[in-house]
């Protein structure tokens, strides 16, 4: 990952130029962008820019809408075939399934890009490298779109992000008055930008507005309160579904199994899993290490704010990117920011 520290090159383009550019990208590569599918927004393959879901107020603020699932699914799909196994007689033949196509993801939000960066630490920066993830990551260019403001569930500024944070993108777009300021953040991003056609500029990108801050409790706090009844109390309403983990940009647990495709042909698949489910980490003999709902929900928060920083260090204070999707989808109203406040308050 080459995050060049030098002042990035910038261009200013119109909506039409943007659409033409995206159309060109869609021809040569797989373009993935927010798309409206039966009333909800998802990152999906689009064949041209007209299929992209821009937000409702298309005329005033030409901005893409934020998908309900994070861009994690592009790199770490819900189900992924790792390889196929052909068996004939005594012979066993394995064939890897590497994704080889060049992909561009458009309309990535800073929280999503940060999520991908945090996943890098898990899948790519520690040995052994996860080859499927690494291949997808290497083939993919992220075109970000700065959020103009935080929505009611967002708290990225509290966890070290910002609505206009370009750090983890390859190309960043800022929208202002129907025009777009394009910033090439990495070499990979610059490669996608058409040479002389666009007007160069040295304007400073428009600043986004942000709202209040949530405190992030220190490590000691987390250690201190591990055995508190608090976790049982807040988990009472938890339904033990996995919606929060599956929409999260950084939840990365998976399960691997071999399944039959047809007699003699098998596949090894890897699927999303979540510590919210009751059978998570069940071992032979049926023992479930986290049988209680409170233990499972506690694990989710500890994983984000304690285990991840402990394990993968970096400069990350947490594995939470503050996107607020878990708050949005929770059918029972479990709220991660409330946990942060409560923990900070406790002495």
């Amino acid at each position: 990952m080459s995050n060049s520290p030098a002042p990035n090159k910038q261009w200013k383009i119109s909506r039409i130029e943007l659409e033409t550019w995206l159309d060109e990208i869609a021809v040569a590569r797989t373009l993935i962008a927010p798309r409206l599918v039966s009333g909800i927004f998802l990152y999906r393959h689009v064949t041209n820019s007209s299929e992209i879901a821009w937000s409702e107020e298309k005329s005033e603020s030409p901005h893409t809408s934020r998908p309900i699932l994070s861009s994690k699914e592009v790199f770490f799909p819900p189900t992924e075939r790792l390889f196929t196994i052909q068996k004939s007689g005594q012979e066993i033949h394995l064939e890897e399934n590497y994704p080889n196509w060049e992909t561009v993801v458009f309309g990535v939000r800073p929280c999503d890009a940060r999520g991908v960066k945090l996943l890098d630490a898990v899948f790519m920066d520690t040995i052994p490298v996860d080859s499927c993830f690494a291949r997808r990551r290497g083939n993919t260019t992220l075109i970000g779109m700065a959020c103009k403001e935080l929505n009611s569930n967002c708290f990225c500024t509290s966890v070290g992000g910002a609505p206009d944070d370009a750090h983890d993108m390859d190309i960043m777009l800022y929208e202002a008055d129907g025009e777009y300021l394009v910033e090439a953040v990495t070499e990979k991003g610059r490669f996608l930008i058409p040479g002389g056609e666009w007007k160069e500029t040295s304007e400073t990108p428009p600043k986004s507005t942000s709202n209040g801050q949530f405190p992030i409790p220190q490590k000691g706090k987390w250690l201190e309160h591990f055995n508190d009844d608090y976790w049982i109390k807040i988990s009472e309403r938890c339904l033990s579904c996995r919606a929060c983990a599956y929409v999260c940009p950084t939840c990365r647990c998976f399960m691997v199994r071999d399944e039959m495709i047809q007699p003699g042909e098998f596949e090894r698949i890897r699927c999303w899993d979540s510590c919210g489910g009751e059978n998570y980490r069940r071992v032979a003999g049926g023992h479930k290490p986290r049988a209680e709902k409170g233990e499972r929900l506690r694990n989710r928060f500890y994983c984000k704010f304690y285990y991840y920083p402990e394990q993968y260090g970096l400069n990350a204070e947490s594995a939470c990117t503050g996107c607020g999707r878990c708050i949005e989808v929770c059918p029972a109203g479990v709220d991660i920011t409330e946990v942060l406040l409560d923990l900070e308050k406790s002495v």
Partner: protein, 447 residues
């Protein structure tokens, strides 16, 4: 030439021997039949039939003993009730209903066995290969229904009287120690209305009532009653219920999952619930029930005349799908279910999905793979809908909990309508079990 693959589930007491009789008598039967010998046609669970189609069967034939001749007395009665409902469900999901057939063949009826299998093979052959199994994901079909759900704005409603009454009742119940816990609603810091569990009288101020009280709290009830079982005295639990929620208490009572004296139901006269968009939730649009069917305390009120009660969008949508061609229905459902991420929020939010271990989960499920793929997701949703047939009270929590906006409630409501038509059974109105999933009712009322 195309030859269909047909799975035939044959009862070992009758039709399996019937097939033998056909063979002994040298009567020709089609070679398309793959026989699966079962101890009784009642043993053929719907999951097996769905699985047969998942594994690319072109047709499924179930042959049992004639009514009145079951070796186990009533096994075939179960089949006779279950299969037509399953066929409706599969047809609703886009399978041609002719691909499932139930019939009766006794041990001596070799000729009848041959005739039925010949007929069925002919029917399936003329239908052509089945297109049930799908081998790709991300099919990107976005087929919308023509019915548009009209938004009915929710009027500003003052709920302070109801809130006060709930708090007062909760305080009384907790102070007198008649209940150990009150399950109700509170408003979170963020302003969201959500479930809360109150154990002491000084916490009752947290309880509220407002038009956002959407959760069906009965979901929490069985676990709450189990959780306190270990304590010396098992105290009843008080729970705030809307009319739709109260029906799920009746189903739990009928299925012996909770006891009546363990529950103190605080029923709230309901005026409909508001969605996140500030409009009346679509499930509430046709609802005429203001008073819970079961309550020990009633927090009364009148239904607001400001909210027009019109037609049921779900019913119209089901009718629209029913009149569509099977291929169109299939396309619609595949497009919807494609979005499923198998988070199981629907199942977890459901007050009546209460198996200790879900058939459609886990690394050792017989009926479903581990993958979050289209086939598996459809099998899960169809299986779940069937397990709720005659039990689903229509609270639509599954659909609300779904982060992907899949109209799963339509499957349940389709089956509920079929069961009303066939058995005149409406789930939860009284303490009665489902006529098809859990009991043999109907013909055997006198016993």
């Amino acid at each position: 030439m195309y030859e269909p693959r047909i799975i035939a589930f044959l009862c070992s007491w009758c039709s399996y021997t019937g097939a033998d009789s056909a063979g002994i008598a040298r009567i020709k039967s089609p070679a398309n039949i793959r026989a699966v010998r079962v101890p009784c046609s009642g043993r053929v669970s719907p999951e097996l039939i769905i699985k047969a189609f998942d594994q690319e069967a072109d047709g499924v034939l179930v042959l049992g003993c004639h009514i009145g001749e079951c070796h186990y007395d009533t096994g075939n009665h179960r089949t006779a009730k279950r299969l037509p409902i399953l066929r409706n469900l599969m047809a609703f999901a886009g399978l041609e209903p002719e691909r499932i057939r139930l019939d009766w063949v006794s041990a001596s009826e070799g000729e009848r066995f041959s005739k039925i299998t010949e007929e069925f093979t002919q029917v399936v052959r003329s239908l052509g290969p089945v297109h049930w199994r799908v081998d790709q994901n991300g099919i990107q079909v976005d087929k919308r229904l023509a019915i548009s759900r009209e938004a009915i704005p929710y009027p500003v409603t003052d709920c302070t009287a109801k809130t006060d009454a709930i708090r007062e009742k909760a305080r009384e119940l907790l102070t007198s120690q008649r209940v150990g816990c009150v399950i109700g609603y509170e408003i979170s810091l963020r302003g969201r209305t959500r479930p809360v569990f109150v154990y002491t009288p000084d916490e009752v101020e947290r309880l509220v009532w407002n038009p956002d009280c959407t959760n069906n709290l009965v979901t929490y009830l069985p676990a709450k009653l189990r959780a306190v079982k270990g304590q010396e005295t098992l105290k009843p639990v008080a729970i705030i219920v809307k009319p739709c929620d109260s029906k799920s208490i009746n189903v739990l009572l009928a299925e012996n999952l909770i006891q009546r004296d363990q529950v103190h139901a605080i029923g709230v006269a309901c005026d409909g619930i508001q969605g996140l968009d500030g409009n009346l939730q679509t499930r509430c649009v046709p609802c005429q029930e203001a008073i819970p069917v079961i309550c020990d305390t009633l927090i009364s009120g009148t239904m607001s005349s400001l909210i027009p009660r019109v037609k049921s969008y779900a019913r119209d949508e089901i009718a629209e799908l029913d009149t569509a061609k099977p291929a169109e229905r299939m396309e619609f459902w595949l497009g919807q279910i494609d979005r499923c991420i198998r988070c199981y929020a629907c199942r977890q939010a459901c007050p009546l999905c209460n198996c200790p271990e879900c058939l459609y989960e886990g690394d050792d499920s017989t009926f479903i793979g581990l993958g979050i793929e289209l086939n598996e997701k459809r099998t899960f949703h169809l299986g779940r809908a069937f397990h709720l047939a005659g039990r689903c009270v229509g609270c639509n929590e599954c659909e609300r909990a779904c982060p992907m906006g899949i109209p799963i409630g339509l499957l349940n409501q389709k089956l509920a309508a079929d069961i009303v038509a066939a058995f005149d059974h409406r789930a939860g109105l009284t303490v009665a079990r489902s006529p098809i999933v859990s009991v043999l009712s109907g013909e055997y009322k006198e016993g």
